[in-house]
């Protein structure tokens, strides 16, 4: 998962010196002698250790909790994992693409409703629609995930195509407006529960595995998170990722080199929404319930807070942010209903003293900062 090979995917031609090609960021010497030390640094240095620790603890603690019979903590870890995955999606837009979307709850919620509605019709043996084509419900997670990702991508294509014509505060407001439209729509559509939400009576299933088992479901979510991070990492190491970085840094400069920033941003926005939408589908199945609250602007805001807490544009930032956020929500929230006061203080501290978020504070600065 560590990604200190900024150029390898970009280069179309093999280099004469392969050690050089994989030479990471901090070398000023230009000599190949620095390569082995830096390579070691990328895997076992401070940053590598922090990353391995985060992923390792997230994987091992729930497994241990499961064998000691504390299912509550397994589900808590699933929740962290899913929220982190949603934030990984948002981080692609905000952190890597510079597109401050205040409407990612729309994709998270749509993903959730895809899972909910699909299960609802599968449970009732009623079709979702009969005209012009007949679409039955399905309780298969594979179908749900595919539908969630595709529909979120389509929705993001429409919203992004319009929103990306604006920048700055207008972009923030227009993405918020679209998300709120969908929120009110879900709120007032009685077929699927309206504001009461929609229960999923039996968790959607996968062939061969028992998804109702808490640990199994956690491992599925964990796999989803790792996939989302791997996709982000690969994407950002590709030529497309470099172009996205260029669009973020200076779109005029990119345009004068003959590349239109608009389609680059739009594709990144769509991928970002699909990742968040998949997380939403996992979340609905985890809770056995989906309601308009996951579509509301509060949730968009929470995802933004998580990305900023963890470190904007850091691969592991959303994970660190989600761990802190959900832990505070769970443990402080159990003590006082005013837990968000403390969240506010932490956010203030991060913004003032740790500009690159928890990951920047724990693991040091990264090349794109």
């Amino acid at each position: 998962m560590t990604n200190n090979i900024p150029t390898s995917a970009v280069s179309s031609k093999p280099t004469s010196n392969s050690a050089r090609a994989s030479m990471p960021k901090h070398s000023h010497s230009g000599g190949s002698g620095a390569a082995p030390a830096n390579q070691a640094d990328s895997h076992f240095g401070r940053k590598g250790l922090v990353q391995i620790a985060l992923l390792g603890l997230l994987l091992l603690l729930p497994v241990a909790a499961y064998f000691f019979g504390h299912l509550y903590y397994v589900n808590l870890a699933s929740r962290i994992t899913i929220i982190a995955m949603a934030a990984v999606g948002l981080n692609l837009a905000i952190g890597y693409g510079g597109m401050v979307s205040f409407g990612h709850a729309a994709y998270f919620g749509l993903g959730g409703y895809v899972a909910g509605i699909s299960a609802y019709h599968a449970f009732d043996f009623t079709p979702f629609m009969t005209w012009p084509i007949s679409i039955p419900g399905s309780d298969s997670l594979l179908v749900v995930w595919l539908a969630a990702a595709l529909l979120c991508a389509l929705l993001a294509l429409a919203i992004g195509a319009i929103s990306l014509r604006t920048t700055g505060v207008y972009f923030i407001m227009i993405t918020l407006a679209f998300a709120q439209m969908i929120y009110y729509f879900a709120n007032s559509w009685p077929t699927y529960g309206g504001e009461d939400g929609l229960p999923i009576y039996i968790r959607n299933s996968l062939p061969l595995v028992d998804t109702t088992n808490a640990l199994t479901y956690f491992l599925i979510c964990f796999g989803g998170l790792v996939m989302a991070m791997a996709v982000t990492s690969r994407l950002m190491k590709s030529r497309f990722g470099a172009a996205l970085t260029m669009a973020r840094l200076n779109d005029v400069r990119l345009a004068t080199a003959g590349v239109s920033p608009y389609p680059v941003r739009l594709v990144a926005f769509v991928i970002s929404a699909a990742i968040t939408g998949l997380a939403g589908a996992l979340y609905a199945d985890l809770n056995g319930f989906v309601s308009p609250s996951v579509l509301s602007w509060h949730f968009s805001g929470e995802l933004m807070v998580i990305v900023i807490l963890g470190g904007v544009g850091r691969l592991y930032g959303p994970l660190a942010g989600a761990i802190l956020f959900v832990m505070m929500e769970t443990f402080l929230g159990g003590i006082t209903q005013y837990w968000q006061l403390f969240l506010g203080l932490v956010l203030l501290g991060v913004v003032l003293f740790a500009k690159h978020g928890i990951m920047g504070w724990l693991a040091g600065r990264e090349r794109n900062e």
């Binding site: 900024p6 150029t7 280069s11 070398s27 172009a243 005029v252 004068t256 239109s260």
Partner: protein, 226 residues
């Protein structure tokens, strides 16, 4: 190749260009000159559609460029090296060179042969380069888009004399290789020997156009003196 006639450009309500005429033919190196604030950079911005011209014509190989977005203009075959060493600081040298590259005669190897320092530093972040190296990278990045017309805006401004010499050496090499270039610069001693033609701007209009040999001291004192 590039033909600009009577363009007028405004920044909001204030007019910056009042009729600029400029021509670059294939293989030519044309210098765009004039004192500070006379409209050189605005002319470049108008060519690339960054500050679109309100009137006049901008044609490149008989294609009308006016009102096209910047990326279409670049795709039409123009390459801009903007003022002030503009590369992408958080990307590596190679990424800078390769991401916007288009196929053609200019390849990574050829750019690295022109500027060997870029090869030495290919995996470094652009922001860790010296000013001169960043300028080489900016030129290399634009060459990699294989422009038929290269536009260099103040390519040697603010650089150490040694580095300037290296950039000028590269520009002379480009000329020998027949690269059509529009050059904005102030150092007459470097420009005059290599330019095929000079166009001088004064208060947003073209006031003089001709061979460098014809650029006598009267013209210099009137339009280029400090």
């Amino acid at each position: 190749m590039l033909k600009i006639a009577n363009i007028e450009t405004f920044y909001g309500p204030s007019q910056a260009l009042f009729g600029v005429n400029l021509e670059v033919n294939a293989g030519e190196m044309v210098a765009l000159m004039g004192r500070n604030g006379m409209g050189k950079t605005t002319t470049i911005r108008s060519i690339f559609g960054l500050t679109p011209a309100s009137r006049g014509t901008i044609e490149f190989e008989s294609q009308n460029l006016r009102r096209l977005p910047a990326y279409r203009i670049a795709k039409a075959g123009l390459g801009l090296v903007p003022e002030g060493r503009r590369c992408f600081p958080n990307l590596s040298v190679r990424e800078n060179l390769l991401v916007t590259a288009r196929p053609g005669e200019w390849t990574l190897e050829r750019v690295e042969r022109l500027f060997p320092r870029l090869e030495e530093r290919r995996t470094q972040m652009a922001k860790t380069l010296s000013g001169g190296e960043q300028q080489m990278l900016a030129i290399g990045r634009t060459l990699m888009t294989n422009p038929r017309l290269l536009v260099l805006d103040e390519a040697t401004e603010g650089l150490a004399p040694v580095i300037r010499q290296e950039i000028w050496r590269a520009i002379r090499l480009l000329k020998e290789q027949g690269q059509a270039t529009l050059l904005v610069d102030k150092s007459l001693s470097e420009i005059l020997p290599i330019a095929d033609r000079c166009t001088i701007l004064e208060k947003g209009s073209t006031v003089w156009d001709g061979k460098p040999a014809a650029l006598d001291s009267a013209v210099r004192d009137r339009y280029l003196g400090v």
